[in-house]
């Protein structure tokens, strides 16, 4: 079952086209992500789906509702974290939670939410005195206050330190484990890869690819790489007999070896072969193609430049 269905969404501002013909569906219980560079149209899309911006063309259904016509009924059931918003400067964290709880029929225990987001000590801190990351976490807490079936998180980890980012990823996975659906946007490819069940890659107002991250990466047809160093002479010949290996590159000067392979079992076979042949190696690591490579391949550009 789909909780979101978008078909042929168009949106422009003046003569600037922000979204040009976007269609996708989000299934119940998945973490769906949109990734793309700045100005790709992610916020415009997510806010049209939330009912906060009117689309110029196209159909949108969210939880069976039309976000423009049934906006209030829809907002009762969804949780929203906006990319850009604020609270009154002098409003305290606890007051903000109480206030927002009062807007909904169904409400979660706001103290438990603050606890989960590590904001318990900030309960009496005014909004203006919070750090960027704390504000971000407060907005995530506010997005969960009505126990929504569907949560929208626009740039959820922008401005968070690596630790808070991982913490937030865990939280998003928890939300999904409770049977809820998450629609998020990010411009961190790594985040999309780690977190999302399916990812839409957006560029210049269009979806250029949409699939599970591993499928997107696999569809590139790029091999995995195993990189290590050896001392002394290196003979690549026996490596070609290992199942899955496609290519071996050895630079004899510094002893660096790169083995390319395709199969899932390839790494296991390679390591077994190296041990049985008694090859001494150092600094072994693997390099996998990532969504960055997918984006580069599809658009000919780096995601950030």
């Amino acid at each position: 079952m789909n909780v979101i269905e978008v078909s042929h969404l168009h949106k422009r501002y003046g003569n600037k086209v922000a979204v040009a013909d976007i269609s996708f569906a989000v299934a119940d219980g998945e973490i769906f992500g949109m990734v793309g560079p700045n100005g790709a149209g992610k916020t415009t899309t997510i806010e049209c789906v939330e009912g906060l911006r009117p689309p110029d063309k196209g159909q949108i259904r969210v939880l069976g509702l039309d976000p423009q016509k049934d906006g209030y009924a829809l907002r009762e059931q969804i949780g929203v974290q906006l990319q850009e918003s604020a609270l009154p400067e002098r409003l305290k964290v606890g007051e903000a939670m109480e206030l927002f709880a009062a807007f909904y029929k169904q409400k979660a225990d706001w103290r438990a939410l603050l606890e989960r987001l590590g904001l318990t000590e900030k309960v009496n801190t005014p909004f203006a005195k919070l750090s960027g990351g704390q504000k971000q976490r407060l907005f995530i807490a506010l997005a969960l206050i009505n126990m929504p079936k569907l949560v929208f998180l626009d740039e959820l980890t922008t401005g968070l330190d690596p630790q808070s980012r991982r913490n937030t990823w865990d939280l998003v996975r928890e939300i999904r484990e409770q049977g809820r659906t998450v629609f998020l946007t990010t411009h961190y490819m790594e985040e999309a890869e780690q977190l999302c069940d399916r990812v839409a890659i957006v560029d210049q107002g269009r979806i250029v690819a949409l699939d599970a991250p591993e499928n997107l990466v696999r569809s590139l047809g790029v091999e995995q790489r195993v990189v290590f160093r050896v001392n002394g002479r290196f003979d690549p010949t026996p490596f070609y007999n290992i199942p899955g290996v496609t290519r071996v590159e050895a630079t004899n000067g510094d002893g660096k070896v790169v083995v390319y392979g395709r199969d899932n079992e390839f790494l296991t076979h390679l390591l077994q072969a190296m041990i049985s042949q008694g090859i001494q190696y150092q600094e072994l690591h693997t390099e996998k193609p990532s969504l960055e490579d997918v984006f580069l391949n599809l658009t000919g550009r780096q995601i950030r430049n």
Binding site: Y72, L82, E84, R90, A102, F103
Partner: protein
């Protein structure tokens, strides 16, 4: 209606935490009443038809409080919320926009009323303030005046693009208006040509009607003033519906 009560309570607390707005609406009128009272006293004077200077000042300062609320506080608060993205965030919840505005207007109206009551209490205690009107008539003019100035504030917030601009425009309208309309200084000491200018200022009509009913006049003696304020209210409402923006 869910959320309205909590939102109003919250806005009330936030208002009191905003030192400038709270000062100018709640404390400043009392302070200048005490200041001028200590200079001029409240003895009956021929200039003021047998009333004292404090007696005359209380309804006039009440008009000034209304102008402060409507022209300064309300548009600055609204445009700041809009600029910072507070309104955007509220709009992502199921609360109806009318309720957000109702809470804002309700709180600012309550503060205006408290501002007037504080002044009356201090005037009564310190200067034995005289009041010879009907409380009901005063309330009618007070409410009509307040709401017509609040819609003016909404129009202002709708027209300007930034909070900074709202502040500047509000000041430019506010200061000449309170001095020329007789709200801040008694009209009796203003020269004739200034009084002519003051006829184009909406606050003048509020001061006139409020002073009139304060000292016992009937509402139907001020139909012109009431008509002008009603017109302001209606035109203001229509314009603000069209110019209101969330972001």
């Amino acid at each position: 209606m869910r959320g309205l009560w909590k939102l109003s309570q919250t806005e009330f607390k936030l208002f009191l935490r905003e030192p400038a707005a709270a000062f100018f609406i709640l404390a400043f009128p009392v302070l200048i009443l005490l200041l001028f009272g200590s200079i001029y006293g409240n003895d009956p004077s021929d200039l003021f038809n047998g009333y004292g200077s404090v007696d005359i000042s209380v309804p006039s300062y009440t008009a000034m409080i209304i102008a402060t609320s409507g022209l300064l506080s309300l548009p600055i608060m609204l445009t700041t919320y809009r600029e910072q993205g507070v309104l955007r965030r509220l709009r992502a919840t199921p609360i109806r926009p009318q309720l957000i505005l109702t809470a804002q207007v309700g709180v600012i109206f309550l503060m205006t009323l408290i501002g007037m009551i504080l002044m009356v209490i201090v005037g009564k205690l310190v200067y034995d303030l005289r009041f010879s009107g009907s409380l009901l008539n005063v309330l009618v003019i007070f409410i009509l005046g307040s709401f017509s100035f609040f819609t003016l504030g909404f129009v202002l917030a709708g027209i300007v693009t930034t909070a900074r601009m709202a502040q500047i425009v509000a000041m430019v309208l506010f200061y000449p208006m309170i001095f020329l309309s007789g709200a801040a200084i008694p009209r009796e000491i203003l020269p004739e040509n200034i009084l002519n200018i003051s006829k184009i200022l909406p606050l003048t009509y509020l001061v006139t009607a409020l002073r009139g009913v304060w000292f016992g006049a009937d509402l139907n003696e001020y139909l012109t003033e009431i008509g002008i304020m009603l017109a302001m209210l209606i035109v203001g409402l229509v314009v603000s519906v069209y110019t209101f923006r969330w972001e």
